[in-house]
């Protein structure tokens, strides 16, 4: 094998396998994490009210502890359609709201609603390509804080206009404070639906005790489990290592969730479907693949979208989440508790 061989193998391996990670996999939740934000209308209409709800989990050793979730909206059509352009808009907004980011709508809790301006489309220049439909864009920002949200310390160079403080007013870092954003696109005639998740399977069988979308927010994790209410799996002495027996898991998803991208059809006569994938998370054990392709825009539905679970060593409850995304802002999820015996 010469240098060219290695280069080719390296390039292709990087594409096919991903770079070798020396970090904890993102699928293993060990800190406060936001797992998903679902919008009632991933593609909305001007003037439409959009409801958002957040799926989060605190995997920290300090959990359970109070977690504050905050939202703010009010950024429309930022320069370059970049979320970073919103910060300049916020900085120019007046007057600043006492104790919070200036000039935009605030909300607290796991759910938030806002209304798109009626002129969100008409207030921006039309697309350069006349074939493309006009659209408007709004960014909604959020933060989950294992403490108390507040303005960032003065004089510090921070990009995000909120900070998270602990019980002693100490500044909390990324393990205890997650900030993020979601984009809501507005079209006059195009809609996008969230994926339709109907259940969860473990080793090919429909599982009991799963919750879907908003139900997971309303239903806290059960502390007392038995094999009549949730699937039971055997503990693995290797504690989630890849040598553990593989347990096939995955959500049940209606293939109709893969919608046709109607804009491609109307504008260019090409029938692309959505690009879709599934993010998997566990609070114990580990996963063989943490991200799986669900639908390819050209190759279509990938029925092999499930993953393999490697059970933890310690008996007791564990939780698996599967979050389904599409590339047009849609998301849906299912949560499944398991009992490790």
């Amino acid at each position: 094998m010469n240098a060219r061989d290695f280069a080719l193998v390296g390039v292709l391996s990087a594409i096919a396998l991903g770079c070798g990670a020396e970090f904890d996999p993102p699928s293993e939740i060990k800190t406060l994490r936001v797992l998903a934000v679902q919008k009632s209308a991933p593609y909305a209409k001007p003037g439409e009210k959009v409801d958002l709800q957040m799926l989060w989990h605190d995997g920290s050793k300090q959990a359970p502890r109070p977690v504050q979730v905050g939202w703010f909206s009010g950024c429309f059509n930022p320069p370059g359609d970049l979320y970073a352009g919103c910060f300049a808009q916020f900085a120019g907004a007046a007057p600043p709201a006492p104790g919070g980011p200036p000039g935009f709508d605030l909300g607290m809790g796991d759910r938030f609603s806002f209304t798109l301006p009626a002129d969100v489309i008409s207030s921006r220049p039309p697309p350069a390509d006349p074939k493309q439909p006009a659209y408007g864009l709004s960014f909604v920002f959020f933060a989950a804080c294992a403490g108390k949200l507040g303005p960032p310390p003065e004089g510090e160079a921070v990009a995000f206009p909120l900070a998270c403080y602990g019980p002693d007013d100490e500044l909390l870092g990324a393990d205890d404070f997650v900030a993020g954003y979601t984009a809501v696109y507005a079209f006059e005639k195009y809609r996008n639906q969230n994926a339709l998740v109907t259940g969860f399977r473990v080793n090919g069988e429909d599982a009991k005790g799963s919750c879907i979308d908003g139900a997971c927010i309303d239903t806290p994790l059960a502390q007392a489990l038995d094999c009549d209410t949730v699937p039971c799996i055997s503990a693995c002495s290797d504690d989630g290592d890849a040598d553990c027996p593989e347990i096939a898991i995955g959500p049940v998803i209606d293939p109709a969730s893969a919608e046709v991208d109607q804009i491609s059809v109307d504008a260019y006569g090409k029938k692309y479907s959505e690009q879709m994938w599934v993010n998997y998370y566990v609070d114990r054990g580990s996963l063989k693949s943490e991200l799986r392709l669900l639908n390819d825009a050209t190759a279509g539905w990938n029925s092999d979208y499930g993953t393999k679970l490697f059970a933890p060593k310690k008996p007791g409850p564990m939780t698996v989440w599967a979050v389904v995304h599409d590339n047009r802002g849609g998301s849906a999820w299912v949560r499944q508790q398991l009992l490790v015996q």
């Binding site: 096919a16 990009a159 979601t182 504008a267």
Partner: protein
């Protein structure tokens, strides 16, 4: 007291190219001959053997001096003790009479007129073509040499005895160069059958004195070079000084890389075929050898990027004999799409290039395909003068299989051909590897390329070459585990690139004073890439035409005028999120970005015209002013680019064995410099109405360079060149008054640097150099923005390499590189968050600090190579072991982060890689 030396030795002829009127001498011609240089007669001729594959040439015998007239030594010069050489251009008619004597290289001090007057009275035996007398022009050097005679008052000069013996000697050089070949064996076989062996000196010189008159057979041998024999006359009272040139042994074919600039670009550095094929860590890839020259930054890993003097790779264009080719490597860096065996030369211009090139503001690489080889080999690979033979090569390794054949085209007299093809078979073994990893493989990676050349040389000065060449790379893989950092980067990946060309080249002379070179090409390029719902499809059908006329407008002045047309009908479809430019905030994962699509079918028309002069007012001075006018119909921009280069030999080089014979050994010192304006049209996506902003102007750069070259010995040369590039009108993206980002020409930047090269020129045993480049490249997106280091900035780049022939076919080489680490843009540090969660993709968007504000650790690497060759009677077998990264340094190529950018680690480069190559050829 001073007196004139005896007349017969008062002159030495140099480079007197005796040709018919139809093929006059051209002192600036590059002698690329690889065969012997036959000795001429008095005042005579240095010419390589006839090129291969051309029709039988007429036998031309140069004029021979039959009556010499001594010139009076100018009194003033004699008094002042000044010597001088006057090079004359003599026109000799078919009767042998000198009809015109023109001073080609003046010496001043009264020498010029004296030499010219004397030469007009010379009488020659006329030149002949196939036995018929013809008119001819020759260059003739008339040397005025003072000789000191011990003052003996009252003593009359003693008349010299009539000599009874002569001398035989000269110099040995590497073919195609003036590089001396030291340590070579010269065997002189006497008329009586006896022989004597001597070895050439460090300067390639050799000689045997006091030989009886007669015919002597001279055999020259040097390890690694083709042996050569020649029959020479020794005349009583004369010293035969002959310059021979030995060609390297047939290890493929001769390829030269001309670093920096050819004559019109002031400077030329030459890398021999042996150097290219032996540089460790390059696997013998000719194009990759350029990355070892000063001014070229180290690209990451094995990438085939050419980062020239702090410019982006897209700022440097690559041509094949004047035709632009968009892709020079398979899969971005695996191997050159043109195999080394078919290359004749690589001209590399790192800056201040000639007006014949344009549309870029970085550098130029112009690859020349070789003429088919029809020379016949004798036993054990010995080259002969016979032509009309076929050659073939076959090579197989783990990656690909290649074949190459060349020779005469049987029924077509004067025509020769070369045809090569290569196909990878990595698909056979990499498909199971990919499938084992969980990927679905529709089409495993595969590439192929082909080259066909048909050539005819109707005369020594003209050539017609017809070519077809192309390449194709493709793969299709279904990635079922998308990247966690950006889930849109998964799904069905298709990749295909291809480039195909038909090309015609003609070079010739319209008259004594006008030559022409012309190129026409047409073909197709395609790039197809899709990843999930991201797609890029570009089909182009480029038609290129170049023609250049060279006029000898006056003595010492040649004018070049040419056009360079490029017409490119194209059809492009792009479906992608709009990527950010350097210095802009991270847009977050692509998965959360809106997809924008555009389709366009247009024709880009970019004509250019240029005019360039080559003014040589004195032997030591060359000035090349010129300008170029470019028009880009797609952007509506016309660019005027004036340029001027110059070089002056403070101390001219000893350029002939004859000079050496009369004791003139000089180490050249040259100063050089240039300044010019270079314009580069905006890129497609920048002017596209959907992805960019129409009606952008061209990027502009002013190149300044100044340098000095100094020979330290005949083998070692040092060059030092400082450069500065002032970049203005750069296309950058900024928010406009309506809040949207648009492209504009507000960007500026600069690159400043110093290039140093200490080079040991190849001899029979060794070659090597140390190259060091110090540079700084910065950009500024707009007048109110901060200046930042450009992503291709590389402060220090030190390369030391060498290769030594151990004998018996063994050769050992090594390369060491010490280079500044790559630049990285760090994420924000606490108390700031390093990232934001992008809920639409399920991944994180990094929050970055100052662009390229962090320098990663120094890169250092040692590569080694061992070659061994076996020459059999009818074929040759060779093997090499090239070890990349010998001490397995974990070189840092970038940063890698965890999912939310709170932890980082280094991305490291390739580990130690031993590479074994085997090859057979005849």
């Amino acid at each position: 007291m001073l007196r004139l030396p005896p007349r017969p030795s008062a002159f030495v002829a140099i480079a007197a190219v005796a040709c018919a009127w139809a093929a006059p001498a051209r002192a600036q011609d590059d002698d690329r001959g690889t065969g012997a240089v036959p000795r001429g007669g008095s005042g005579a001729v240095v010419k390589p053997p006839p090129p291969d594959g051309q029709p039988k040439k007429p036998v031309v015998v140069p004029p021979k001096l039959s009556k010499f007239v001594s010139a009076p030594y100018p009194a003033e010069a004699q008094k002042a003790g000044i010597q001088g050489d006057v090079v004359l251009k003599l026109s000799i008619d078919a009767q042998g009479k000198v009809t015109e004597a023109e001073v080609a290289e003046p010496a001043g001090h009264g020498f010029d007129d004296a030499a010219r007057s004397a030469a007009l009275e010379f009488v020659f035996e006329p030149a002949t073509r196939d036995g018929k007398p013809i008119a001819a022009k020759i260059l003739y050097k008339y040397s005025f040499t003072l000789k000191e005679v011990p003052p003996t008052p009252g003593e009359k000069p003693k008349p010299a005895d009539k000599p009874k013996t002569g001398n035989l000697g000269g110099a040995l050089r590497i073919a195609g160069t003036n590089v001396p070949l030291a340590g070579a064996e010269v065997q002189v076989t006497f008329p009586d059958g006896g022989s004597r062996r001597i070895t050439t000196g460090a300067d390639g010189s050799w000689g045997i004195a006091d030989l009886p008159p007669g015919k002597y057979r001279v055999t020259l041998r040097a390890d690694g070079f083709q042996s050569q024999e020649s029959l020479e006359d020794v005349v009583a009272g004369e010293a035969a000084e002959i310059t021979y040139r030995l060609a390297p042994e047939s290890e493929g074919f001769a390829v030269t890389v001309q670093g920096e600039r050819p004559p019109r670009e002031v400077t030329r550095r030459t890398l021999e075929r042996r150097e290219i094929s032996r540089i460790p860590g390059t696997s013998g890839d000719a194009l990759r050898s350029i990355q070892n020259l000063p001014g070229v930054a180290r690209p990451p890993g094995l990438a085939g990027l050419l980062i020239v003097r702090g410019s982006a790779p897209q700022d440097t264009n690559t041509f094949v004999d004047g035709t632009i080719v968009p892709l020079i490597y398979h899969f971005g860096g695996l191997s050159s799409v043109i195999p080394t065996e078919l290359l004749d030369r690589i001209d590399f211009y790192p800056g201040n290039f000639s007006a014949r090139y344009g549309r870029v503001m970085g550098g130029i690489v112009d690859v020349g395909l070789r003429s088919p080889d029809t020379r016949c080999d004798g036993p054990y690979g010995k080259k002969t003068e016979k032509t009309g033979c076929y050659h073939a090569l076959a090579q197989v390794d783990l990656i690909d299989a290649r074949v190459l054949a060349q020779g005469p085209i049987g029924p077509l007299k004067g025509w020769s051909f070369a045809a090569g093809a290569r196909r990878s078979w990595i698909d056979a073994w990499i498909k199971p590897v990919l499938e084992e990893s969980g990927a679905g493989v529709t089409s495993a990676p595969v590439y192929w390329d082909y080259q066909v050349i048909a050539e005819n040389k109707p005369s020594a000065k003209s050539k017609l070459s017809l070519r077809a060449y192309g390449s194709d790379d493709r793969l299709e893989i279904l990635i079922r585990d998308p990247l966690a950092a950006d889930p849109i980067l998964g799904g069905n990946i298709t990749f295909r690139t291809g480039a195909h060309r038909a090309q015609a080249l003609y070079t010739g002379e319209l008259s004594d004073d006008v030559d022409v070179s012309s190129m026409f090409s047409a073909g197709k390029n395609l790039i197809r890439f899709s990843l999930g719902n991201i797609k890029f499809e570009l089909d182009t059908y480029p038609v290129g035409a170049r023609t250049e006329f060279g006029f000898k407008a006056a003595r010492g002045f040649k004018l070049y005028a040419g056009y360079d047309f490029l017409v490119v009908p194209y059809d492009v479809t792009v479906r992608a999120p709009q990527p950010p430019r350097e210095g802009e905030p991270d847009p977050g994962p692509f998965a959360a970005k809106p997809i924008v699509e555009t389709q366009e079918a247009e024709t880009a028309f970019r004509p250019a015209w240029y005019l360039e002069g080559e003014w040589t007012p004195a032997r030591r001075l060359r000035v090349v002013p010129g300008f170029r006018v470019d028009y880009a119909r797609d952007s509506g921009q016309a660019d005027f680019s004036p340029r001027i280069n110059g070089r002056y030999d403070l101390v001219p080089s000893t350029d002939s064995s004859e000079d050496e014979a009369i004791g003139k050994k000089r180490l050249r010192t040259t100063v050089k410099g240039g300044v010019g304006l270079f314009a580069q049209p905006p890129q497609f996506q920048e002017t596209n109405p959907v992805f960019g902003t129409p009606n952008l102007e061209s990027n502009r750069a002013v190149h300044y360079s100044v340098g000095v070259e100094q020979e330290l010995s005949r083998q070692i040369e040092v060059s030092l060149e400082g450069f500065y590039k002032d970049l203005t009108n750069l296309v950058s993206r900024n928010a406009n008054s309506r809040g949207a980002f648009t492209y504009g020409n507000q960007g500026t930047g600069s690159v400043v640097g110093l290039e140093t090269l200490v080079k040991y020129k190849p001899d029979a045993r060794f070659f090597g150099w140390v190259a060091y480049t110090l540079s700084r490249s910065v950009r500024q997106n707009g007048p109110d923005d901060d200046e930042f280091l450009y992503e291709f900035d590389q402060t220090h780049n030190l390369i030391a390499l060498g290769s030594y022939r151990l004998g018996r076919g063994w050769e050992f080489g090594s390369r060491f590189r010490l280079v500044s680490g790559p630049l990285a843009t760090p994420v924000l540090k606490p108390p700031a968050l390093p990232s934001l969660y992008s809920a639409d993709s399920g991944s994180y968007a990094q929050l970055t600090g100052e662009p390229n504000s962090r320098r990663l650790p120094l890169f250092h690497q040692l590569d080694m190579r061992v070659d061994k060759s076996w020459q059999f009677k009818d074929w040759r077998f060779s093997a090499y072991l090239d070890v990349y990264n010998v001490y397995n340094n974990q070189a840092v190529e970038g940063l890698s982060y965890n999912y939310n950018y709170t932890q980082e680690t280094y991305q490291t480069g390739l580990p130690i890689i031993p590479s074994l190559g085997l090859r057979g050829e005849f």
